[in-house]
Amino acid sequence: MTDWAELRELIVHRGMGDVAAAMDGLSAAERKALVEPLRAHVKQLQGDFGILWNQRTTLAVAGAGVLSGAAAMTSWQTRFLFSAWDHENRRPIEPVPVVLQVLRDREVDWLPDLAQRLADRMRARSANPTVGRLIEELVALTGIAPPTTDGFVAHFADRRGDLDRFRAEPRWAALVPRMFEVDVAMNDMDYHPEHKAGSWPEFFPRLIEAGLLDREVVLDACLGGLHRAAPLGALRGALKAYRELAVTKEEIAAHTRDLIALLPAAHSTVAGTAQEELRALDESAPLSIEVLTEIGGAVLLRPEKKLVRAQLDWLAAVAKREPAQVDEIARTLSVAFGQSAADLQERAVKTVLKLAKQLSADTAAELAAAAALLPADLRGRVATAFGPVSPAEPAPAGPSPAPAPREMPPPIDSAEELVAEIGSLFTGILDDIDPVALERVLAGMVSIAYTDRDGLHEVLAPQAARHHWIPQHDMASMAIAADRFVNEYSEFVGILIAALQLPVAPPGAPYPPADDATREWEALVDKWFMPGPQRAITRRLHEIAVGINRAPRPILLATPTGSTGLIEPAELARRLRRAADEGWEPWPADLAQALLRLPRTPDPAAAAQAAELGTPAGALLAQRLTAGNAVDPPVTAGLLGSEQRTMFGREEIVTVHHVTATVNPCSPAVAGDPTAFAGALPRPQRWAFGYEQQARMLAAWPMMLPAHREVMAVHLVPQFFERTRSGRGDGGLLVALAEADGPVGPALGLALTYGLAARETADRNAAVDALLILAGRGELDGALFGPNFGLLVGRGELPLNRVAPALRELANAGAGPQLWAMLAAALPYTLPPAVDKPANRLADLLALGVELAGQTGDRKPMPELDSLADRKGSSQLVVQARRLREILAS
């Protein structure tokens, strides 16, 4: 039969068997005639979403029957050959045998070519196992050598090893060495679920035993796999294979160079295995001194403590074995002087000092020179043995002066620029918003909506129409609904919508008094429980939206003149002069924000200018400039009880003691209290709020209180605490806080401490940057930050594996003295009796203390160290405690 209509019926409604039967005995011409209708059928199906996939198996069989040539068949089968599931009979539909039968019946000569082409098309990362099985069958059928493409090899590694199959078809063994050249294959050889019965690595020795594989070939391929810069999962597969081979001493000797090649850069586990193997070899058949120094030079530069310690021990053993080579060995050992970890440096020095008596004068001089990089106490020990050590060019005495904050760009002066900047503001996630860009856009919206509403509409409207995040309706439908979601984002969109309308009030009209709509909006803001600063931003954005619509103004007062958020007093006085001249009153939140952005120091000259204005706003400004913007509400930070928890809508107060911070309004109330605008945080709170209330413009918070960073730090502590657990990208906030003004207090210290423990390296780097800015400004008060830091370490709440390297960076960048002050204040809280059990990795902190105390010379005894230092044993904790006690006593 050749009727397309019938074939179509079978493809759409019947199974593979029926389609295959219809293919039986067709002539070449008949097959050819069916190609076009079949392709047309698929093309039509593509339009009908979701229909194509359930015809895949029958289409695969039909294609196998009619298409001519390996190329066309490859594209077709790659597209349609998938296993399916028969829901009615609850069994899998396996198309490979049927397709193979149909292909075989055609008696064409391009099946070997087809196998190769299908293999070429397979991708290692997404190898289709059904196509893979078809290739296997074609290989078996045609007797060709199995294809060795990455995709097919990955597929093959995914299949269970089967001894009988290898016996029957020894050709398959050719694929085994290739498995070690494909990451996915190396990864899958060990832990695919199909391998429960035994994985490839366990299977290789059996194949070798059965004479089906050459042991040398597998070993060589395996070492090649280990030498590739492959992902860890893949390396694990190869390592397992290596271990299963149980490599002999002779084989190790034959592959010495391969193992040495793994030492300098391979993954630590791989390098560790190579090191162990080479050492075992060296112990039974000693390696030449050239090879041993090469090995030492490669390993001793690595950062992994385990490898370095093992290498030092190994070299020490060699020195004992071969006294004639002791100079060469000592020189190699000195490579480890360059390690940054103090315990490794100490061990290297100890190992070298044991050889001291045997060394030549030249070597001793070389070692003395290499010791330049060591900390003071170790330098001293080297000097007693080998003569004077000149310390390396010392790091600069203090941190670099804090770089100037970036400059505030000029205001936006055209609708085109404004619209381009709005687009730029919203390309990333809102948390990442650039606060300077936001302020420029807000200022531009107000002024351009005032001067060039038509021009703005012309440029903004087409862009607004394109962006899904701007609701495509007018201000009227933005009317407040009871369930409306209110946050910074909704209010910013409100500003855009307001700017797209014509204003309903004349320029300079008074800001509308509270009416029902306002009260309803306020109720909504209260309903969505928000942190204070978030609420303040939301209110300010809302005011701008309402103002553009109902009380247009030519300028915004609160736009900063500096990128930290400060406004120059004279500039604010000028802005208010303009308001007085043009006869308009500032919007209330705008004025409040502007006043909070004044510098802390009084400015009598500008105050006099403001007083002359004769407006209420002018009087307020004059008053603030006379007193200075320096009202500091009471902040506490430390171990505080009582955490507020919201559970299933029910708020309950539970008493949990956490290291966190609070800020309360000044009592009695004072004008200029920043908590009046940015909110207070009276109850200790460690977590930021849940998803719904998540602050969207966090980056804009520090600019809100540029003269009161400690207050903003209180609000940010919960955010930073969360960042120690998850998330990324808040580091910039700490830099902004450090660049802002105002007293430095314990809340800022706490924010920075949590920042140092952030999950992401980039965020920890930002915390270091922030601390360096404080240090550069002479504001890093280590003694102030120390106790809370120590409290957190003592409670085991700081991951020291993150914090210690960050602190070392800080020390390397020149803030050593300040950091030592902080550690000196912190360590008593981390040691018994203050804690029962010292925190993990406390030794790292003690080692850093040893280094810093040695550098700064500001030492006084710390009796708390005694209980650790008096302990027996040589654990790092005890050793470093002893070193620190020693250096503090000297």
Partner: protein, 468 residues
């Protein structure tokens, strides 16, 4: 739109350790006499065999890696240039974000330069394994390109490899030269500090965010934000190819463009000084960004006379290891600024590379189909189409409104005629960090055309006036 390239090697490159002979086979490219099938550049000894072998492995490792969305693929072989006194091995990663070059200087070579030119060099898996086995005691004889007589007598069958050559890969390869020409050295580290710094960097691919390396004291420290003098270090795991050579390093230099507080991510270069050679890696500004989209060449390509100047210079170059701008200007009879612009033009088509250590261009001809390298940048192509279709309209305030599919974009220009912003998504995302968007380019093209028309018109009227 994927081009393809076929390598024809007379036999696979091989290293025979017992005899210490490293034979690197070549395919295609250009030598002094013109295009050659299998050029021969060098025969002689490598003075530091272990290090040269390690450097070649690093170059090969970059060629076969995708640092973004890691996947294996058929890699493109490194390119070797015989520059007379030195050999340069270059490769470019599959993700188009990392460029590597090993310069084996004259101190690293002890032999005869047979020819100058650029060609592909076969690096295969068995060769990679053998290179890893080179030990310190073994002398190593290197031949770049096989002696024809030797080919006919030696065993080994010819190799033919077909690889995809996407235009973006080629464009990125060429773009690196233009970008690095604007770099300055920012830090120089001793071997010990280099090891400490590089070994202390996070190695996981999760550390994909950009960081900055700020010079401090003798070394560099990592920072979260740029300050003047900082070098961007995006995806530090991409420096992995430097690590195996650390035990031999004489120092590390970092290069980058000038940055200030608030600068966006930029590209950077990291150069390991080795005995008799240098290994340099250039990293794109972000792991997920290839060099092809950096757009540094767009301005050079929109200019009119660069093309003709570049052709003139191209004919004068002779695979010099250093292109001396002054000397070239004299030979070409062109002023220096035009020679510099023309060198950028040559860079965009892969005809010169930039050597940071020498702070000079070197001549090489990427051994690929020149048409593929030159193929218009997508943004430029779109811009030409827009300009030709008359999609650019000027408002009375000098703003260009470029209409794409009925959607207007407004392009602002400063008083100096430079584009300031566009309201499109490209500008919103990248601002001016990655070259101009197609709308800015279209507006500039339209403006230039108008100017040309006007000047032709005025020339015409002047001519008529003088006729009178």
């Amino acid at each position: 739109m994927t081009g393809a390239h076929v390598y024809h090697y007379p036999r696979p490159s091989a290293l025979d350790l017992p005899s210490g002979r490293l034979a690197l086979e070549t395919s295609g490219g250009t030598a002094l006499a013109g295009p050659v099938a299998n050029p021969r550049f060098f025969t002689g000894f490598l003075t530091s065999p272990v290090i040269a072998a390690g450097g070649l492995q690093s170059v090969a490792q970059v060629a076969r890696t995708r640092y973004y969305q890691p996947d294996q693929l058929a890699w493109r072989d490194p390119v070797v240039t015989g520059n007379g006194d030195r050999l340069r091995f270059e490769s470019f990663s599959g993700c188009c974000g990392v460029y590597a070059r090993l310069d084996v200087l004259s101190e690293g070579l002890d032999g005869e330069m047979l020819d100058r030119g650029t060609t592909n060099v076969d690096i295969n898996e068995p060769l990679r394994r053998m290179l890893a086995r080179v030990g310190s005691g073994d002398p190593l004889h290197l031949a770049v390109g096989a002696d024809e007589l030797a080919v006919s007598t030696l065993e080994g069958v010819a190799v033919e490899k077909k690889v995809a050559l996407p235009p973006r890969w080629l464009r990125g390869f060429a773009e690196v030269q233009v970008l690095t020409a604007g770099f300055e050295p920012r830090a120089e580290l001793s071997p010990m500090d280099a090891a400490r710094f590089l070994r202390g960097l996070p190695s996981t691919s999760r550390a994909s965010g950009a960081g900055w390396a700020v010079p401090f004291g003798r070394s560099l420290r990592t920072a979260a934000r740029p300050t003047p003098g900082a070098v961007c270090l995006a995806g530090p795991q991409r420096l992995a190819a430097l690590l195996p050579l650390l035990p031999h390093a004489k120092g590390l230099r970092a290069y980058g463009p000038a940055v200030r507080a608030g600068s966006p991510e930029v590209a950077s270069a990291w150069e390991l000084a080795l005995p008799g050679m240098r290994l340099v890696l250039v990293l794109s500004p972000e792991v997920r960004r290839g060099f092809s989209g950096e757009g540094a060449v767009l301005d050079a390509l929109t200019g009119g006379e660069v093309g003709a100047d570049a052709d003139l210079l191209g004919a004068l170059l002779n695979f010099e290891p250093r292109v001396e701008v002054a000397e070239l200007a004299e030979r070409a009879g062109l002023p220096m600024p035009r020679v510099r612009a023309a060198l950028v033009g040559l860079g965009t088509s892969g005809r010169v590379g930039y050597d940071l250590a020498e702070a000079a261009c070197f001549h090489r001809e990427l051994p690929y189909d020149a048409g593929l390298v030159d193929k218009a940048n997508p943004r430029l192509r779109a811009a030409r189409a827009l300009a030709a279709a008359g999609a650019v309209r000027w408002t009375e305030r000098g703003v260009a409104v470029v209409t794409v599919d009925e959607h207007p974009h407004s392009v602002r220009f400063g008083p100096d005629g430079a584009a300031l912003s566009c309201t499109c998504t490209w500008w919103a995302r990248h601002r001016d960090g990655r070259g101009a968007c197609s709308h800015v380019l279209a507006a500039e093209l339209a403006r230039d055309n108008d100017n040309d028309d006007n000047s032709e018109l005025s020339a015409l009227t002047n001519g008529m006036a003088s006729d009178d």
